[in-house]
């Protein structure tokens, strides 16, 4: 319960940050991504504001063996720098540049009631579900045929 309350506060602050910085507006984000237009460096300043504060938080946590409200830290499950990371980031970047929406601003702007936001979020959730399906299918395939593909 306390964990969920902390998450609610964090989500609210995160969303307020997107509102205050105008990153909730795809046109603002495209102003940053359009270097050949009238370039707006604001997005870089959002990162510059966020990263040092987040780094302090991660630094404070390093002295602890567990978070305040939970049994353990859940860091990233994948740690290898591989092709999957690069391809995934490239696909994400293309989608981001087409519309100016990444997941946070897309979700935060739903409440403003524009149909375009809802269409984008529906497609985004379908993309995530599609990844989950392929991931499970490939895991099943690998388990079943691994002896033929890569004898170890």
């Amino acid at each position: 319960m306390k964990q969920s309350f902390a998450a609610l506060v964090a989500g609210l602050l995160f969303g307020l940050g997107l509102v205050v910085s105008h990153m909730i507006d795809p046109a603002k984000v495209l102003g940053f991504l359009d270097i050949a237009g009238s370039w707006d460096p604001s997005l870089a300043f959002v990162m510059a504001g966020a990263i040092p504060i987040a780094a302090i938080g991660f630094g404070v946590a390093r002295a602890r063996s567990a978070p305040i409200l939970a049994a353990q830290f859940h860091g990233p499950s994948r740690t290898r720098l591989d092709r999957t990371l690069v391809i995934g980031a490239a696909l994400f970047g293309v989608g981001w540049g087409l519309v100016g929406y990444c997941p946070g601003p897309a979700l935060t702007s739903l409440v403003l009631g524009r149909w375009q936001s809802w269409v984008f979020v529906a497609a985004m959730l379908a993309g995530m579900a599609g990844y989950g399906f392929l991931d499970r299918a490939s895991a099943l395939f690998t388990r079943r045929y691994s002896t033929f593909i890569s004898p170890r």
Partner: protein
């Protein structure tokens, strides 16, 4: 650069960084939006509670801002339906394949100096510049 808003960008960014710090220090969770949502779309364990709570806060933020007298944010979405559908699918699939988005890799990972996140951030920035250039200056929509 007539639309440049450095002060509100820094303040908003600081709020985002503070949110990421709270979620990690108190719950031990990374404030990566695609990871938080992805964990609900493809549930793996019984850990939906904190994810839903975070997303409720996130989605309620414009209303809270408005209630506090800040006014509703004005947004402009230029995408046509094919762009919205294609962009959404790519963002959803790509963030799960690459294990993060602007928040998980760009803010949390970079602030931890994770090599994976530094590379991912450079790649999605470059791809974003290229896609926006293509849409605005080659296709010219």
């Amino acid at each position: 650069m007539e639309n440049f808003t450095p002060l509100s960008a820094l303040i908003g960014g600081a709020l985002i960084g503070f949110a990421a710090a709270i979620l990690w220090v108190s719950d031990g969770r990374v404030a990566g939006i695609s990871g938080i949502v992805g964990g609900l779309v493809n549930p793996a364990e019984g850990d939906a509670g904190w994810r839903i709570a975070f997303l409720v806060g996130l989605c309620a933020a414009p209303l809270v801002y408005w209630t506090a007298g800040g006014g509703l944010p004005s947004i402009t979405i230029t995408g046509s339906v094919p762009l919205l559908l294609g962009g959404g699918l790519l963002v959803g699939f790509g963030t799960r394949l690459g294990g993060g988005c602007t928040s998980g890799h760009g803010v949390c990972g970079v602030s931890r100096l994770s090599p994976r996140s530094l590379v991912a951030t450079l790649v999605f920035m470059a791809a974003g510049f290229a896609a926006t250039f293509a849409v605005r200056h080659i296709v010219g929509s």
